[in-house]
């Protein structure tokens, strides 16, 4: 078409934007600024017809540039944000929020708080659904900052308390922060979403003032309400709370069970296994074995001596008792094809021995049982250990030799 190459305003600005994009991706802030300078006149033709209009572009691009550019200062940044706030009524709250985030990143808590308060009191026309959400977020963050103030105040008072001072006014202030924080935090965690920090802070407040029921309810909601997205942290928080409250092993275990289902490699699996091993119920002990094996499936656990010691302990116990060898067999069945190369190679034997004898000890025990006394790993480590005249390695060697038939049964 004859108009295809007609160079006009719109095409020129589109090209300009793509140059900005390239510059941003390559972190060439000066160049991005150069092209942005040419782009800003699009504002004079911004009528918000497009999905993302010039004002939003300028806001976002400008923010990136000012945040990263070496010659830009916080003052300039703030000045820019204030201008952006005036650019579009619909965007005002969003810009405020993002501005607040940047201020927080820069450690300017007070300014952030002021901005939040200002934004909270802003009203324009009818509140749309989106503005409603944004307003809630603003209130939530203000609540968070109130919590921070509360926490600071609390620490001050605790220090003074040790010195024997009691400051009524300061206490009242602290309580004031608590009230403000609690109101907003409670509101936001009602909405399905991921509110980890908010929940933690809220629960902290509740615990301090002794409202454990409310805390428990909040955490249960957060962890078990299906409307909320699946969040491992929710279960962690619940577990930690229950532990603090001295709840029964039964409830602790049920809290961690779900965590194991969602994130088998979670660091709490060690605690979990430890609890389960000690249980009198057979099912629980069985589960414990499953849990520790599952955790060690993950590369991040390969060198975790504690995890290996858990596994070793349980395996040893089973072998000695000669009961439930089939448990080991079941767990090993799906792993025997790849665990040897994954955990028990000769290279790893050497390395583990060099870097961490305890780790190699625990692993050697497991290897010896699962793979027999002739396996590479066990042979190397036990040999090294005996050479180094370490007693426990000699004991280990004896143990494995004695129980070698077990290996034959397992692998059978």
């Amino acid at each position: 078409s004859p108009n295809e190459h007609k160079l006009n305003f719109k095409k020129s600005k589109e090209a300009c934007l793509s140059y900005i994009q390239d510059a941003l991706l390559q972190k060439q802030w000066k160049r991005a600024a150069e092209f942005l300078t040419c782009y800003v006149e699009s504002l004079e033709k911004d009528y918000s017809r497009e999905h993302i209009g010039p004002s939003e572009m300028i806001w976002r691009i400008g923010t990136e540039i000012l945040w990263h550019h070496s010659q830009s200062s916080m003052k300039e940044f703030n000045c820019f944000m204030e201008q952006m706030k005036t650019l579009g009524v619909k965007r005002y709250l969003k810009v405020c929020l993002e501005h607040v985030f940047h201020l927080l990143c820069n450690g300017q808590i007070d300014e952030a708080y002021q901005n939040l308060s200002l934004a909270e009191s802003w009203r324009f026309g009818e509140q749309t659904a989106i503005q409603d959400k944004e307003m809630k977020l603003i209130q939530a963050y203000r609540g968070l900052l109130d919590y921070c103030s509360w926490s600071k105040q609390k620490n001050i008072l605790l220090e003074h308390g040790e010195d024997g001072f009691s400051d009524l006014a300061a206490e009242q202030e602290m309580h004031g922060y608590f009230r403000k924080a609690a109101v907003n935090l409670k509101e936001i965690i009602k909405i399905p979403g991921v509110w980890d920090e908010f929940v933690k802070c809220y629960v902290d407040l509740l615990e301090f003032y002794g409202d454990h029921n409310e805390a428990r309810q909040v955490l249960n909601e957060y962890a078990y309400n299906s409307k909320f997205p699946a969040n491992p942290n929710a279960h962690v928080y619940l577990y930690q709370f229950l532990k603090r409250q001295g709840e029964s092993k039964k409830s602790l275990i049920s809290a961690l069970k779900i965590l194991h289902d969602i994130v088998p490699s979670h660091e709490l699996m060690i605690d979990f296994n430890t609890m389960l091993q000690k249980s009198k119920k057979r099912k629980k002990r069985r589960l414990g074995l499953e849990v520790i094996f599952a955790a060690l499936d993950y590369a991040g656990w390969k060198e975790n001596a504690k995890a290996w010691s858990c596994l070793a302990k349980q395996v040893k116990q089973i072998v000695i008792s000669e009961k439930h060898l089939d448990w080991i067999q079941q767990e090993w069945n799906s792993r025997k094809d790849w665990w040897p190369a994954f955990h028990f190679s000769r290279y790893l034997a050497k390395r583990n021995w060099q870097e961490n004898t305890s780790l190699s000890y625990e692993k050697a025990l497991v290897a010896g049982i699962l793979l027999g006394k002739d396996c590479k790993y066990f042979k190397y480590v036990s040999h090294q250990g005996c050479k180094a005249q370490l007693k426990r390695f000699r004991m280990l060697k004896k143990f494995v030799n004695r129980h070698n038939p077990v290996y034959l049964r397992i692998s059978g």
């Binding site: 000066k30 150069e34 006149e41 000045c79």
Partner: protein, 580 residues
């Protein structure tokens, strides 16, 4: 021009024209009372024109503005443009005699001045400040939206959206306004009859004047100078005097948001020439810059091609008769002859010559290049000196030119992305959004300052001086990057005392030409269908002339068909490769 009396004061015969249409002596600046009597007796000085030039008009507007008509605005634009051309070295007659006359002729023919006002056409003085509520009763009053939709989108003013949206909030009965007196009427007029004036058309006027005087500026150069800022076009309205307030519909007329397109300006120029009933333009002869022989020489130099190719371009030009005076000279209103695009034509001739000599089938030219390379290796420098330069190697040329072209193209692309379209003078459709516009403008300026400082040491370079050559190659460069002096002897042979190309083949771009009137083109250029070398060559000239490669392709097809006319008629409907 026709005023031959001696000046009363200094006895010289050296007359110019004031804005008021009076003769003044250029030597002593004596102003006479004689107003211009044009050759064409149809000109009757219109009282309104006199009124305007004497400055008698309603001055009592609230905002310090005055009445002004759209054509006055265009007159100012043209004045600025032609002054810029003068600064570029164009002869001064162009302003006072040529363009002036063209313009007055146009005003008369389009009945905007110099004639009796046609009956029934009353111009209501709609001022910015008037918001006539008594317009309610007038159902004939076109609505704002209607007017906006009527006019062509010669500038894709996205401000329409704002305008429309802000209007929709106001009642239908708001009057249609513009800063000018006849802005709304202007947009409403049936343009078929009267060739309504537009911004691109100002360039058509300029080009027409340039052509009349046979100045050595082609249309592509003119447009390039416009884009480079040497000739006012974008935002030229900011030079309007303060009292000419621009707003509302005036913006639609004077504010352009796109660069003019070659075709558009070219076609309009021809329409204009016919509309003005101009006689045959001054002859384009062999000594004219616009003659293909001259232009080919220029473009060959610019394309870094051997001078020896010039013989070939001349031969082609002669063979197909495009160097004839009657072919080249513009005869307005003659619908049968094809309008000549001098620059595109010359470029196309070079392309055809390259095809003749090198075939450009992505094969043969590289083969020839290898031979040349061999010969160059074996020759000593002394040999070369005597036999007139090294053998021309297509491959080397390609590499050198492509490199430079890529660099320039990249620079051009960046410049295009960095154009600043707006100017200081604020534009607003109505008083209502004036404050918003001013606020926005202020913010834009602030942001430009803020980010401008962060741009590092990159200073907006001063406008480079306008130059006729975009690529230049110097023979003094010892790196061998200039090919002007290279020889074509490796690819030529003598036959019957005539030098012919060794290449025996030729491929036609198209076997059948399209009907230009029906589909707008002689041929259709689709990149996938042609060899890469052909693309490259088209691309080179496309860059130099700043036009689409398809236009050059059209001309190439036209030339080829003239060149091989006999052979085409005779046979080979299905064979596209011809033996010469």
């Amino acid at each position: 021009r026709d005023f031959n009396e001696c000046c009363a004061q200094c006895s010289e015969v050296n007359w110019g024209l004031t804005d008021g249409g009076r003769f003044y002596c250029r030597s002593c600046h004596n102003v006479t009372e004689r107003t211009r009597e044009v050759v064409n007796t149809d000109f009757i000085t219109n009282s309104r024109v006199q009124t305007i030039s004497k400055g008698l008009r309603k001055q009592e507007k609230n905002d310090g503005g005055c009445e002004w008509y759209i054509c006055e605005g265009f007159q100012l634009v043209l004045k600025k443009q032609v002054e810029a051309l003068e600064a570029l070295g164009v002869c001064p007659q162009m302003k006072d005699e040529i363009l002036c006359n063209f313009w007055r002729c146009y005003l008369q023919k389009s009945k905007q001045a110099y004639c009796k006002r046609p009956a029934g056409e009353t111009v209501k003085a709609l001022s910015v400040c008037e918001s006539s509520t008594d317009m309610d009763s007038d159902p004939e009053r076109p609505s704002l939206l209607h007017l906006l939709s009527l006019s062509e989108s010669e500038g894709d003013l996205q401000t329409d959206c704002s305008f429309a949206s802000s209007v929709s909030k106001v009642s239908e009965s708001t009057s249609v306004y513009s800063g000018s007196v006849d802005g709304s009427l202007y947009l409403m007029k049936n343009q078929k009859e009267k060739l309504r004036m537009t911004m691109p058309m100002t360039l058509s006027f300029c080009y027409m004047a340039l052509l009349w005087v046979r100045e050595p500026i082609t249309l592509s150069e003119l447009l390039r100078f416009v884009v480079e800022g040497h000739i006012p076009y974008l935002n030229v309205f900011q030079h309007f005097p303060e009292k000419m307030k621009l707003c509302g519909l005036d913006l639609k007329i004077f504010c352009v948001e796109s660069w003019p397109v070659y075709e558009e300006v070219f076609n309009k120029m021809h329409e204009l020439a016919a509309f003005l009933d101009l006689p045959r333009f001054p002859d384009i002869t062999e000594s004219c810059f616009l003659h293909p022989d001259m232009l080919c020489m220029k473009y060959l130099m610019e394309a870094n091609l051997p001078d020896e190719l010039h013989d070939w371009t001349c031969r082609v030009v002669k063979k197909i008769g495009i160097g004839e005076v009657d072919f080249l000279t513009l005869m307005p209103g003659n619908k049968s002859t094809r309008k000549v695009k001098y620059d595109v034509l010359a470029a196309a001739v070079i392309v055809v010559v390259l095809k003749l000599l090198f075939l450009l089938d992505d094969h043969y030219e590289w083969l020839l290049s290898e031979f040349a390379e061999e010969r160059n290796k074996n020759n000593t420098e002394v040999c070369m000196f005597y036999s007139g330069g090294p053998y021309f190697e297509f491959k080397k040329w390609y590499e050198v030119v492509k490199h430079s072209l890529d660099v320039k193209q990249k620079k051009l692309d960046e410049e295009r992305a960095k154009y600043l379209w707006r100017c200081e003078k604020p534009l607003f459709y109505s008083v209502k959004n004036k404050s918003k516009v001013l606020k926005r403008r202020q913010m834009v300026v602030n942001l430009q300052n803020q980010f401008g400082k962060l741009s590092g040491s990159v200073q907006r370079a001063e406008k480079p001086n306008p130059s006729s050559f975009q690529l230049s190659w110097s023979e003094e460069n010892t790196d061998g990057s200039c090919f002007h002096g290279h020889s074509l002897k490796g690819i030529l042979q003598e036959k019957c005392g005539l030098l012919t190309a060794m290449n025996p083949d030729y491929w036609l771009c198209t076997v059948k030409l399209c009907n230009e009137k029906l589909c707008g083109h002689l041929a259709h250029y689709r990149e996938v269908e042609f060899p890469q070398s052909y693309h490259f060559v088209l691309g080179l000239f496309s860059f130099l002339l700043r036009i689409q490669p398809s236009y050059i392709h059209d001309e190439v097809c036209m030339i080829e068909h003239k060149l091989f006319n006999k052979k085409l008629c005779k046979k080979l409907k299905y064979n596209t490769v011809l033996r010469k």
